[in-house]
């Protein structure tokens, strides 16, 4: 390796501190006309071979850059564990039970509009994906679940999702107001309403 001489050190420092890639003329303006800039660049280029930084020339301009194979070190992932919102879980449930399904259909089933962000979150989580377009006017996008969805929720397939009858048996279909009325009238001593099977 060439031991660093003054020109080489100056070129190195100037390129390092420069806000843009520099031409030979730029370098001469900093380092001086007499200096052998070309030789310094060649020596530097050799010095930096195989290092974390490399000296590159693009269209007559020189600059330092980080070695491309190290790009993965220049970013760091930070994972924050976050709980899916109610809108998110409901939307996901509808997609899982009805896929492929369009946004309008999801809204019709939910009875509430969904924001774009809700679908984005599900997409970011890797649980849903676009699944073609419905051949109706406007050709709306349809959504379906992904294999990651199945593995996250421990399902072998979508058929493992409990059906409506299972949900009813599990008491998960009880409308809130019906259950309320039952509890209320019971307390009032009456036997008015057929008590839905609430027991687990």
């Amino acid at each position: 390796m060439t031991p660093p001489d003054e020109t080489m050190r100056a070129v190195e420092a100037v390129l390092f501190a420069a806000e843009q890639p520099l031409t030979l003329a730029d370098l001469r303006a900093y380092v001086g006309d007499e200096a052998d800039i070309v030789a310094a660049l060649a020596a530097l280029s050799e010095t930096y071979t195989g290092r974390g930084i490399e000296l590159v020339e693009r269209g007559g301009r020189w600059h330092f850059q980080t070695a491309p194979d190290l790009a993965n070190f220049l970013r760091r992932d930070r994972e924050d564990s976050r709980k899916l919102s109610r809108a998110g879980i409901e939307t996901l449930a509808i997609i899982a039970y009805h896929e492929p399904v369009t946004r309008a259909e999801i809204e019709a089933i939910r009875g509430v509009q969904i924001s774009k962000g809700t679908l984005d979150v599900l997409m970011e989580a890797g649980w849903i994906r676009p699944a073609g377009r419905r051949e109706v006017p406007g050709r709306p996008l349809m959504y379906a679940t992904t294999p990651e969805f199945l593995s996250h929720f421990g399902l072998a397939s979508r058929r493992d999702l409990p059906g409506i009858d299972d949900l009813r048996a599990a008491g998960l279909l009880d409308p809130v107001d019906l259950a309320f009325e039952a509890a209320h009238s019971e307390a009032g001593g009456g036997e008015a309403v057929e008590t839905p099977d609430e027991d687990d």
Binding site: A13, F16, A17, A18, E19, Q20, H63, F64, Q65, T66, L74, R75, R76, D77, R78, E79, D80, S81, R82, K83, L84, R86, G88, I89, E90, L92, A93, I94, A96, Y97, I109, R110, G111, V121, E124, A125, W127, H152, F153, G154, L155, L161, P162, I164, L167, A170, L172, L173, D174, P175, V176, L178, G189, G190, A192, V193, E194
Partner: protein, 243 residues
């Protein structure tokens, strides 16, 4: 007193009396620890007097310092009065210590700013690529949440089938029939409750009461019953009208 090299009068150049004193002390060209306080006092007083002769406006703190130094000088020169605390020597020592500290910091500041400073003498990289922090959310949801949510949506939006259980009710027809039969036997005012079946209880009794009331209104309309109530929520009385 030997007069040191005359200072040019530039009162705006000083940052207060201590600053001026330090400059004067420096003109003695000795280590501050060897400083002659008496000489310094004279230098200061001379300076202030010259400034006054030139009719320069002197800030009050310069004059306060001048007065204090004049007092210090006389105290140092006069025979010692042990009653006076602090002693003039102590006062002089304090002044010297303050000057030393100011001088030390002034010199430290000068050395500090003379260093190789970032952005002036040394430079960091001009165009760093930058480091990225990719913030990823790991979304949490359990299978139970998913199923429960679907159950709730279904319950909320499915057409609800209302199954009305067989309720023990007294229909209006029954009530009309009953009240009109019973009224024939009652010439005196009787409460509406007395028209209800004796074994009626619970919701059947409520139903019977409501139907009997409507039946009474219907019979009153037909001119077969009279109804009386003294005030709101007072007992309701019925009596038959002789045909």
């Amino acid at each position: 007193m030997t007069d040191p090299a005359p200072l040019t009068i530039d009162i705006d150049g000083w940052e207060g009396p201590l600053d001026l004193l330090l400059a004067l002390a420096r003109s003695q060209k000795v280590d501050l620890r060897q400083l002659s306080i008496l000489q310094l006092v004279d230098q200061y007083l001379t300076y202030v007097n010259e400034a006054r002769e030139l009719r320069l406006e002197l800030a009050a703190d310069y004059l306060v310092m001048a007065a204090w130094l004049a007092y210090l000088k006389s105290a140092l020169l006069l025979p010692r009065d042990p009653e006076i605390e602090p002693s003039p020597e102590e006062m002089a020592l304090r002044l010297q210590l303050r000057l030393e500290r100011l001088a030390a910091m002034r010199e430290a500041g000068a050395r500090l700013v003379a260093r190789d400073r970032l952005g002036r003498d040394v430079f960091t990289r001009g165009a760093p690529e930058g480091l990225k922090t990719v913030r990823k959310s790991r979304w949490q949801a359990e299978i139970y949440d998913l199923i429960a949510a679907y159950g709730q949506i279904s319950a909320r939006t499915r057409p609800v089938m209302h199954i009305v259980a067989v309720r023990p009710v007294m229909t209006l027809e029954d009530a009309i029939h009953r009240v009109s039969e019973l009224i024939g036997q009652r010439i005196e005012w009787s409460t509406i409750e007395s028209f209800l079946p004796e074994d009626a209880s619970g919701s059947y009794r409520k139903s019977a009461l409501a139907s009997s009331f409507v039946a009474a209104l219907e019979l009153a309309k037909q001119g077969r019953v009279e109804i009386r109530q003294k005030s709101a929520f007072a007992p309701l009385y019925l009596r038959g009208i002789e045909a």
